[in-house]
């Protein structure tokens, strides 16, 4: 850890994208570890239910489908 710290000090702060590659990869690794930990939990039942049960809302206010009877009669 000490290595990384001293390397960070060497990374000139004003340099664009001049961040030490090792530190950049450490940050990337930690960020993904945090994120992937949640991703690995999969889909909680509550959301699976929600998506499966919910049909297309009967009258979506966003859709101005006047008279368009393209539905194949499925209910």
């Amino acid at each position: 850890m000490k290595d990384v710290k001293s390397q960070a000090r060497n990374a000139a702060p004003g340099k664009q994208g001049g961040l030490n590659p090792e530190i950049q990869s450490r940050i990337g690794h930690q960020l993904r570890a945090m994120y992937d930990d949640v991703v690995r939990q999969g889909v909680p039942e509550r959301f699976a239910d929600l998506i499966r049960k919910l049909d297309v809302p009967p009258a979506s206010p966003q859709v101005g489908n006047t008279g368009g009877n393209n539905n194949d009669g499925r209910d």
Partner: protein
């Protein structure tokens, strides 16, 4: 586009990363799941505005990001709640050392300005291209790039420089290598 079974499956498949994005943004597991739920409801209600063949995850992330933004404006995050709540979501309890490192990282991430944090997460963790991230955040590609760069620099400073400064790292380093004159 109508809500076909395959679209339903695709939305379902996006849920894990939507949750990860929401938790990374909000730092609060309960708030995050509320955000995901609202995102899904909104997506399903407006599914007709989704262009077939376009990037579904990016579309869903855009909805979630905008919801978070408007929610955030209404009430500030309860930061003190974040750590404990987030820890609860962890499946595997990290070892003490790893846990400490994780907490440090989480705390540093929370210190970033929101613009920078979301850009870094989208590009660095969600794996979106700069172009997709720019579309999700409604800004220019160059803006995203500079936000990501600034986020990385700031995290590096918080995690690998600032913490050591209390101990006078220059002095320490000098003392250690001093012998080499």
């Amino acid at each position: 586009m109508p809500l076909t079974d395959s679209l339903r499956d695709d939305i379902l498949a996006a849920v894990p990363s939507l949750r990860a994005f929401a938790i990374s943004l909000s730092g609060n597991a309960d708030r995050a799941d509320d955000l995901v739920q609202e995102t899904l409801l909104r997506a399903l209600a407006n599914i007709d505005s989704f262009q077939p063949g376009s990037n579904l995850p990016a579309w869903l992330f855009t909805i979630l990001r905008n919801l978070f933004r408007s929610d955030y404006r209404k009430r500030r995050r309860e930061v003190e709640d974040a750590e404990g709540n987030y820890a609860k979501t962890l499946k595997t309890q990290p070892s003490q050392g790893a846990h400490l490192e994780f907490e440090e990282f989480r705390t540093a991430l929370d210190k970033l300005p929101q613009d920078q944090r979301e850009a870094l997460i989208l590009v660095g963790a969600s794996g979106f291209s700069y172009e997709d991230a720019a579309a999700i955040c409604g800004c220019a590609v160059g803006t995203i790039k500079s936000r990501v760069n600034r986020a990385r620099s700031k995290l590096a400073a918080l995690l690998y420089v600032d913490g050591a400064e209390d101990f006078g790292p220059d002095e320490t380093v000098r003392a250690v290598i001093g012998g080499n004159g």
